[in-house]
Symmetry: C2
Subunit: 192 residues, 2 copies
C-alpha cells in the first residue's frame, strides 16, 4: 500500500467498517480512496495505491458502479476512465440508503408479505405469522418515513434532524391549537 499516512489510516479503517457492514473490504477501500483524492483516479493508480491487482480493481469498480456510487471522468486525449465520488456527503448517504433499500429491504418486505398470505398449517405457524406481521409493520413504517423524508432537500432534512426530538414538543403544541380551533376547551389531561 502506497499512500500518505493519514490517507492510509482512513482507507484501512473504512475497509474494516465496510466489511463489518457486508461490503467487500477492497471495494470499501477503493471508495475511501476515491473519496479523499483531490483528482479522479484511473484503475492503474488505484491498484498501485492500494497494492492490489489490476483485475481486482476492475471488478471492484464495476461493483461500485452498480451501486451508483462512483462517477466517471475523462481527460482530453486519454481514453482511460477516471473515477471519483460525488463530493456531497449527503448525496452519498442518500445513494447508499436507496440502494440498500432496493436490494435488501424491499425484497424482505416481499418475502414477509408472501409468507403472510399463506394459510398457517399449525399453531406454531400461526404464531410465527403473527410475529412476522409485527416485523412487517415495523419495516413498513420505517420505509414510509424514509420515502417521505428522502424527498426533502438536504437543507431541510438537516434542519429536521437537528431538531430531533424537539419536534414532538411542537406536535403537542399543535394538538392543543387544533383542539382549541375545534371549539373545544383545552383538555387538561392532555399533558405536555
Amino acid at each position: 500500500m502506497n499512500l500518505a499516512p493519514l490517507v492510509q489510516s482512513f482507507v484501512l479503517h473504512f475497509g474494516e467498517m465496510g466489511s463489518r457492514w457486508g461490503i467487500n473490504r477492497t471495494v470499501s477501500q477503493i471508495y475511501a480512496l476515491l473519496y479523499v483524492s483531490p483528482q479522479p483516479l484511473c484503475a492503474e493508480e488505484i491498484a498501485d495505491a492500494l497494492g492490489i491487482s489490476r483485475s481486482n480493481v476492475s471488478m471492484s469498480l464495476r461493483e461500485l458502479q452498480t451501486w451508483n456510487l462512483v462517477l466517471l471522468r475523462h481527460r482530453p486525449d486519454d481514453r482511460r476512465d477516471f473515477f471519483t465520488t460525488p463530493d456531497d456527503v449527503w448525496l452519498i448517504l442518500r445513494t447508499l440508503a436507496e440502494e440498500r433499500k432496493k436490494r435488501e429491504v424491499d425484497p424482505t418486505l416481499s418475502v414477509l408479505r408472501e409468507i403472510l398470505m399463506q394459510r398457517p398449517a399449525s399453531e406454531a405457524e400461526r404464531h410465527a405469522q403473527e410475529r412476522m406481521s409485527e416485523m412487517h409493520a415495523l419495516i413498513e413504517q420505517l420505509t414510509h418515513w424514509y420515502d417521505d423524508v428522502k424527498q426533502l432537500e438536504t437543507e431541510r432534512l438537516a434542519t429536521l434532524l437537528s431538531l430531533g426530538a424537539k419536534v414532538t414538543k411542537l406536535l403537542e403544541a399543535k394538538d392543543r391549537v387544533i383542539s382549541l380551533g375545534r371549539g373545544r376547551r383545552p383538555n387538561p389531561a392532555n399533558k405536555s
Copy 2:
C-alpha cells in the same frame, strides 16, 4: 433443517439478509427462529431445528448475548438455559441500533477525530482532511439525531415517524409565528 415450511422460509431469508449486513448467517437464523417460536428454546432444540452442530449453537448464542439480543429463561427442575427474544420489535430495533452504534459508529468517529487532529504533511493530506471533516460532520449530525430520538417513548417515536416530512410544514408555521411574536410582519418570501 427441521422446521414448519413457513418458518423455514423466514429463517432462510433472515439468514441471508443477516449475512448481507455483516452478521453471521447462522447467528441470524438462530435469532429468526427464536423470534418466531412460541416458547423459548434450548440449545439442543435449536441445533435440531436448524440442523447444525451443538457447538455452533453454543458459540452463536454467546454472540447474540454479547449483542444483548436474547433473553434467558428457565423451567422449574431443568437446569438447561432456554432462549428467546424480546417480543417488542421496537425494542429489538433499538438494541440493534445501539449496539451497532457502539461497535461501529463511535469508533469511526474517534478515528476520524484522531486523523483530523494531525498536521497534514502535503497538499494531498490537506485535501483528504477536508473531506474527512465533512464526513465527520455528517456522522455527528446523524448520531446526535439518533441520541435525541432514542430517548422518546416508542409511541411518540412512532408518531414522529408517521408524520415524516410533514413536520417541516409545521416548522415553517412555527417560524412565521415566531416572526410575528417578534413584532415583524410575516415575510411573504417565506413560502411554505
